[in-house]
């Protein structure tokens, strides 16, 4: 079977859905951040696949920026986890109940 664009896109869609599921399902803040990384990576895969199949480099540039931004987000996010750990002594989103809907 020939591997076409749609295979890559479905694969990235699956990874994206996994990440989405994890964010809703898991409560551990660090794992939630990891799931966010999964989602961003899935989006990157889509970009690279499209870049390959449309022969435009812009997609790969986009991925470059995404990776950078993701790193920055992780840095701030983990700093937040540290700050929360200082106060609460754990890093689970469960302990974040002060603000209810």
């Amino acid at each position: 079977m020939d591997i076409g664009l749609q295979h890559y896109l479905v694969a990235s869609g699956a990874l994206f859905s996994l990440g989405l599921f994890g964010i809703i399902f898991r409560r551990n803040l660090i794992v939630v951040f990891m799931c966010l990384e999964l989602m961003l990576n899935a989006a990157n895969l889509t970009l690279v696949a499209f870049s390959r199949f449309t022969q435009h480099m812009d997609g790969q540039i986009f991925v470059f920026f995404t990776i950078t931004v993701a790193a920055a987000e992780v840095a701030v996010g983990l700093a937040l986890v540290v700050a929360i750990f200082r106060i609460k002594g754990n890093g689970k989103t469960e302990s974040l109940k002060e603000l209810k809907f």
Binding site: M1, D2, I3, G4, L5, Q6, Y8, L9, A11, G13, A14, L15, F16, S17, L18, G19, L20, F21, G22, I24, F25, N28, I30, V31, M34, C35, E37, L38, N41, N44, L45, V48, A49, S51, R52, F53, T54, Q55, M57, Q60, I61, V63, F64, F65, I67, T68, V69, A70, A71, A72, E73, V74, A75, V76, L78, A79, L80, V82, A83, F85
Partner: protein, 164 residues
């Protein structure tokens, strides 16, 4: 050959993703994430994006993962204790994820024949990327530097133990 590699990398990537979600221990999750990311880099190679594959390994598997593991170790996060399975969140998450996946699958199914794989171009695409990055996309590049600066200040402010 190519298709075999595709399936190999894809399954590795997805299994790694499942591992992130399914593991109770954050360390195991982090390691699964590394696995997933490395397989993803393999897919990048298949897609002719060598530079990105390298970046992926260096930045993600290298820097970001180390950051994750560092925090996990620093805060001494243990595996979560056994507790009731969260059926509500499980089903909501499942429904949302499946709906999203179905949408993607349906859209991509309809575009099957419109995009045909172009022949492998010059494997040395780093020049092209460099050119674009420092001419056309110079502005976003500069903005990214500011972004990293803000993130750095923010991370220090939020996590440093004692500030003046």
């Amino acid at each position: 050959m190519e298709s075999l590699l595709f399936w190999f990398f894809t399954f590795g990537m997805l299994l790694g993703g499942i591992g992130v979600i399914a593991n109770r221990n954050p360390i195991a999750s982090a390691l699964s994430l590394v696995i997933s990311i490395c397989f993803l880099a393999g897919l990048y190679l298949l897609l002719n994006a060598f530079f990105l594959a390298a970046i992926q390994i260096i930045v993600y598997a290298g820097a970001v993962m180390v950051l994750f593991l560092f925090i996990v170790m620093l805060l001494d996060l243990r595996a979560e204790a056994k507790r009731p399975f969260r059926w509500g969140a499980f089903f909501v998450g499942l429904v949302v994820a499946v709906l999203f996946f179905v949408a993607i699958a349906r859209v991509t199914h309809s575009m099957k024949d419109r995009f045909v794989a172009a022949p492998f171009g010059n494997p040395d695409n780093i020049t092209a990327i460099g050119n674009l990055l420092f001419t056309r996309y110079l502005l976003p590049f500069e903005v990214t530097s500011i972004l990293l600066l803000v993130a750095m200040i923010g991370a220090i402010l939020l996590s440093k133990k004692e500030l003046k």
